[in-house]
Amino acid sequence: MKIKVLLYTRFERFWHWFQAFLIIFLLVTGFEVHGTVKIFGYGAACYWHNLAGLTLLILTAFAIFWHLTTGAWKHYQPCSDNLKEIGAYYCVGIMRGESHPFHKSQERKLNPLQALSYFVLKMVLLPLQLVSGLLYYLYNDWLSWGLTMRLDGVAMLHTAMAFVMLLFLLVHVYLATTGSTLISYMMAMITGWEELDEEG
């Protein structure tokens, strides 16, 4: 029996899509600053990249506050249950039309593989990217802070993490098509409601 459940609250959806827009925009402008593409013009790309980066920083501050106050942070607690089964599902089971070995619920929205990858995204990738980006932006003040490192290292880290972010985005968008229909997961993230199997 299927039931409709409000899985993603209004803030969560706003946060997801705004963050998605910012990250894609940051990737495009960032790779222009890096010299890979030419779209906006160098000066404009630089300006918009900085603005979008600072916006993402503010959005992240709100998201952290929201996760802490609502307790939603618990969804990202990584656990190793079923990781093998979930891996096997994406490799084989999904081809056979089997159902996902993990049962989503309002109490546990993310499967362990998701929780693990989002945990790494939020605890490692995003902080590294935000901190290296902010450092990059405040490059002129390093000397007055007593920082004597060179820009090279920060730029390399920022670029490397951008590649990882793009990789995440690619896989994330692809896996978003693995719901009951191609767009069912995406629609859930837009409306907030998702059809779930009612648990026993």
């Binding site: 890096h34 010299g35 994406y90 056979r96 039309g97 000397l143 820009l151 690619l170 692809y174």
Partner: protein
């Protein structure tokens, strides 16, 4: 001077106090702790920052992030020798002394009227609308002076060498005209020569008798310097900071003239990371390689999903029939 502009005179910037004219080059390229290099703080009103401050860009703050390492002149004087006035870029003294078959002096001008050969002076090269060359510069130069031994050097001899580099927080990227040429020197004493040029015939003056050895012997004797009797020519470079001929802001150097992969204006300044120009090739290759590989894997996965689901559908239909 410019009647259409603010009609400044020389001394508007070159403030003169007690017969001391401020200049000639910027002695303080980056105004220290002050936002404004006010005469009261820095004693003069010579730097661009004296009036414009260190954060003069109102619309685009990112440009203000440049002012600590890039001199105003670097962007605001996109080219020098503008407006149809040529500037001398090359002077080769070693070719002086040629005569016509009739024994007359040779004087040649190019189409624009610039002197390109003179028997007394040798070959000259001229250019207009020249893109400056850029170097790190902290406001100090060390000059090779009369009587100095020529130091060991690679490439052309620098008549003045610029002080400052990326590691020096007081240095900024500054635009220069580099005057190149060949000058007479003493290869034994390793010293630039002070030739006796101007005089009457028979005095040994180069411009009258065309004999470098004689002219050098007299010149060096007068200067009180040693001379071995040998004259050769050496390639020399001289750096001229460019600070006049500021262009209207619309024609300033564009971001991408430096922030570009190849052939940027700062292509020769490689001691630092310049965004848009520099990258770690290995990282880029690895990144795009991994992305491409992942894309292929996902494509394969999607293909398998598609075929297996359509096969399943067909199977179900058949199952329904039976």
């Amino acid at each position: 001077m410019d009647m259409k502009g603010l009609n400044y005179s020389c001394t508007t910037c070159h403030v003169t106090k007690a017969h001391k004219i401020s200049g000639r080059y910027y002695s303080r390229p980056a105004p220290g702790r002050h936002q404004l290099a006010l005469p009261a703080d820095d004693g003069e009103r010579l730097a661009c920052e004296s009036c414009h401050s260190r954060r003069p860009h109102k619309k685009t703050d990112i440009l203000n992030h440049h002012t600590d390492r890039v001199a105003c002149q670097s962007c605001h004087i996109p080219r020098y020798a503008r407006g149809g006035i040529f500037t001398k870029m090359w002077w080769d003294w070693s070719t002086a002394g040629k005569l016509t078959e009739a024994g007359k002096a040779i004087v040649k001008n190019d189409k624009s009227g610039n002197l390109i050969y003179h028997t007394k002076k040798g070959d000259m090269g001229w250019a207009e609308n020249v893109v400056p060359e850029y170097f790190w510069y902290n406001g100090s130069m060390s000059y090779l002076q009369e009587g100095d031994r020529i130091p060991a050097h690679d490439g052309p001899l620098e008549l003045n060498s610029l002080q400052g580099n990326y590691a020096d927080p007081g240095a900024r990227i500054f635009p220069f005209k580099v005057m190149r040429g060949k000058q007479p020197y003493d290869p034994v004493e390793r010293m630039l020569l002070v030739p006796y040029l101007f005089g009457k015939k028979g005095t040994g003056a180069y411009w009258a008798d065309a004999d470098w050895v004689k002219a050098a012997a007299i010149g060096m004797r007068e200067a009180g310097l040693p001379f071995s009797g040998k004259v050769d020519f050496i390639r020399t470079d001289m750096y001229w900071p460019i600070t006049h001929m500021v262009a209207p802001k619309e024609s300033s150097v564009e971001c991408a003239e430096c922030h570009r992969r190849d052939n940027g204006r700062l292509a020769k300044l490689t001691s630092f990371y310049l965004p848009g120009r520099d990258r770690w090739q290995l990282l880029d290759s690895l990144g795009w390689g991994l992305l491409g590989l992942t894309f292929l894997v996902l494509l394969l996965h999607a293909g398998l999903r598609l075929t297996s689901s359509s096969r399943r559908k067909n199977g179900n239909v058949q199952g329904g029939k039976s």
